[in-house]
């Protein structure tokens, strides 16, 4: 009986549209990056910011836009279309924090928002810090050898 069920389960397994998803992610993710690049360019040329200053302001602006879109209930719809395209850029990080904060608002400021804001984004920070540490270590050791 179990064998029969797992056989049917295998046979009827829906295929994931990997190529379609990857294309959409590439397109939307690329567009977000292009938009960011245009902003950096504008801040540099139009307001005479240095390259570093211009990218800081751009990142802030992208985060603000992503948070607003999350609050208005639009970001999840774009995310459903774009998949990784909207999760991987910094806008995805902003969305994960804003959506967690919104969701836990009903449990109050401390137990709700403060405690849950990093529920999803926390993993990105942990992995980011850890991989930066490891890569930094490799670079340091490499420097000693060469």
């Amino acid at each position: 009986m179990n064998q029969k069920i797992s056989k049917v389960m295998q046979e009827t397994k829906p295929k994931k549209p990997i190529l379609k998803n990857a294309l959409r992610a590439f397109l939307v993710g690329g567009l977000i990056c292009l938009f960011g690049q245009v902003l950096i360019f504008l801040f540099q040329k139009g307001f005479n910011f240095s390259k570093e200053e211009a990218s800081n302001i751009t990142v802030g602006l992208l985060v603000l836009i992503a948070c607003l879109l999350t609050g208005f209930g639009v970001y999840d719809r774009i995310g459903q279309f774009a998949g990784a395209g909207t999760i991987v850029p910094i806008t995805g990080f902003a969305n994960s924090m804003a959506s967690s904060a919104l969701e836990s608002k009903s449990e109050g400021i401390i137990v709700g928002i403060i405690m849950n804001m990093f529920k999803l984004a926390g993993s990105v920070i942990v992995v980011g810090v850890l991989s930066a540490y490891i890569l930094g270590l490799i670079r340091y050791l490499w420097g000693l050898i060469v």
């Binding site: 009986m1 029969k4 069920i5 797992s6 049917v8 389960m9 046979e11 009827t12 397994k13 829906p14 994931k16 549209p17 998803n21 999350t70 609050g71 209930g73 970001y75 999840d76 774009i78 995310g79 459903q80 774009a82 998949g83 990784a84 909207t86 999760i87 995805g92 969305n95 994960s96 804003a98 959506s99 967690s100 919104l102 969701e103 836990s104 009903s106 999803l120």
Partner: protein, 335 residues
Amino acid sequence: MKKVGRQSVIFDNVYVKSRAVYVGPKEYAGPLGKYFDGYFQDLYCDSKTWEKAEMNLYKCALEKAIEKAGLVETEVDYIIGGDLNNQIIIGSYVARNYNIPMLGVFSACATSMQGIILGGMIVDGGFGKNCLCMTSSHNATAEKQFRYPTEYGGKKPETATLTVTASGAILLTSEPTSIQITRATVGKVFDPEYDDPLDLGRAMAPSAYLTIKQHFQDFDTTMDEYDLIITGDLSYYGREMLISMFKDDGIDISKKHYDCGLLIYDRESQDVHAGGSGCACCAAVTYSYLLKLLEEGRYNKILVVATGALHNPIISAQNETIPGISHAVVFERRK
């Protein structure tokens, strides 16, 4: 002896006295909108939080069912209720406002039929005359508990289902009415060794298959005896799998089989991925639409199989699989 075969029971005197269903906006906008007793225009259902919104739905359905039955609170002997929230808080918190004894139950999205089976046993056993079986689910409370925050932009696969926002109430009684509950089959927990929480329809399909097969075996019957075979929330991919499993046995159920998750929404226009799911999916469609068709004489005998995926994010994270459970109940028209 009212027990038949390994897993089934026969009821002699269990009837449906009244039923009520309240839904959210998306369910109202769906193809069955006009069959529901009431609806709310947004997911907050006149409340401040998602959980309280679900409680409000529950309360509306509960009161409406009692009102439609022409009873007062004290004439209802028991509430048997369950929902998807941790510690089944929705039903318990609503019940604190009523002078009715409460039994809380849970078998995920198979809770509706579990309630009816237990209620039927109480009524048929003479332990009470009127038994109110309740269930509810809410899209946002389910997302919050089982998945991600509602506004999180993660992509959901096509196999994902949308939790129905609704509450359904059905009042069972021993006095004859036009709808009788005659048979039931209690499901076993079956683990298909599948672990995708975004493909629950397929995780539950094997348990539905086993319960239906057991039902036929216990009553020594075939699907020809029933006008319809209804499953709770297998939705598109789960239904495909159920049909394939029966096809393997040489039985074609596709013409008689309908799934509540596919009936409640219009998959083409409502952006619901594979269809609807949740405790209230089976309850809302069965109590409002299917029993109405039964009452009108379009059908005489239907088999309703509520399907539950016993999914819990904590145990899933511990690399566990998702077992399923399905309970079946037979509704018959009485002239």
